[in-house]
């Protein structure tokens, strides 16, 4: 009997604290949910118009079809995968014939100053106009120059883009 009492005395406050914080978190989640969705959507929309400027987009299953003047130009899609540290998420624009129009890194957590260069135009511009099979580092037999000191990050983003581009190509064929 004594031990039951002791357990109750210990557990009731902990349970109460958990209930109160659960309720507080529900409220703050509801308060911020709309804004967070908006922020995420704005990020996606912003990067869509970077990879296909001036196009309008129709959402398909897991990619967007890019239309210019009512004609389908190509596809835009998000490619995601592990980098050197954390996930690299990038928007890719691809013409119907399998040539990349542009890529734009949405988020990444690479080493500041080294790996983060994968998000900079000097690196990402290399993808524009390349065919899927050439999206490999030069040392892996492709046409992409890796960043000095950040080979792993460079290879990661290159592989992520190519793998996803191949998938979308197969889906749309």
């Amino acid at each position: 009997m004594e031990s039951v009492k002791r357990i109750v005395r210990i557990s009731i406050p902990l349970i109460l604290i958990c209930i109160v914080s659960g309720a507080t978190l529900t409220v703050s989640n509801d308060m911020t949910k709309g804004r967070i969705e908006e922020v995420e959507e704005r990020k996606i929309n912003g990067s869509l118009s970077i990879v296909f400027p001036g196009a309008s987009f129709n959402k398909m299953d897991d990619y967007y079809s890019a239309m210019i003047n009512g004609e389908e130009m190509g596809y835009a899609f998000v490619a995601e995968g592990s980098g050197y540290s954390g996930t690299i998420k990038t928007m890719v624009g691809m013409y119907q014939n399998g040539t990349i129009s542009r890529i734009h890194v949405i988020s990444q957590l690479e080493t500041p100053g080294l790996g983060t260069q994968i998000a900079e135009p000097d690196f990402t511009n290399q993808f524009s106009g390349k065919r899927i099979e050439d999206i490999r580092l030069r040392r892996d037999g492709g046409l992409i120059d890796s960043i000095t000191g950040a080979t792993i990050s460079s290879r990661a983003i290159t592989e992520i883009v190519r793998t996803r581009a191949e998938e979308v190509m197969n889906e749309t064929r």
């Binding site: 210990i10 703050s28 308060m31 100053g113």
Partner: protein, 201 residues
């Protein structure tokens, strides 16, 4: 004296240079001054919030389960910071990334709650939280300033160029973990040197 509770965290018992707490986020986020300021604001909110709540309920928390209780309260505050930062300052949220959720395990917070707020009245805990956060901010901003200037050759805080150009050939190593260790070591050495000289006099 009450004001002592505020100032002790800033100088005498500075969480970074005296208590040596919270070094993990310190190493990771001190690459740029704006990141350091953002992190300090997060820590300020979580530490003051947890200190006050724990101190308010300190008599009702059974000592056997005090650590789980503290962690639940701290984790709730961190999640609130994370959600609001994501919604309202997305750029900062993106740059601080994983280090916001990791405020939960920042030992400054659990350390202050356990050693101070769970034993002292609310007003003292509030001041302690503010003082420790300011101490943390001073430390992290000092280290971030050194690292940013040396690693990028300039210093920009929220878009304002504080030091437009310092060097044309910045040292990338200062951006990487060794740069953080070196900076902390040199600052600590200077502080210790000063303290030892003071003692000798």
């Amino acid at each position: 004296m009450k004001l002592d509770e505020l100032t002790k965290g800033v100088f005498k018992y500075n969480p970074i240079f005296y208590l040596m707490l919270g070094l993990c986020p310190l190493l990771a986020v001190s690459t740029r001054v704006d990141n350091a300021l953002g992190m300090s604001l997060g820590v300020l909110f979580v530490l003051v919030g947890s200190n006050v709540i724990i101190s308010l309920f300190r008599q009702w928390i059974p000592p056997e389960v005090r650590i789980p209780c503290f962690i639940v309260v701290i984790a709730s505050f961190v999640t609130i910071v994370d959600l609001f930062m994501h919604g309202y300052v997305p750029e900062l949220h993106e740059r601080l990334g994983i280090y916001i959720p990791l405020i939960v395990v920042n030992c400054i917070i659990l350390g202050r709650v356990e050693a101070f707020a769970s034993k002292k009245p609310v007003s003292h805990s509030l001041l302690d939280g503010i003082g420790m956060s300011i101490g943390f901010m001073l430390g992290i901003v000092a280290i971030a300033s050194v690292r940013e200037v040396l690693s990028t050759g300039a210093m920009t805080i929220f878009g304002y160029a504080i030091i437009p150009i310092f060097t044309e050939t910045p040292a990338t190593v200062m951006l990487l973990p060794p740069g953080a260790f070196l900076t902390i070591a040199i600052i600590m050495a200077l502080i210790n040197y000063k303290n030892i000289r003071k003692e000798r006099k």
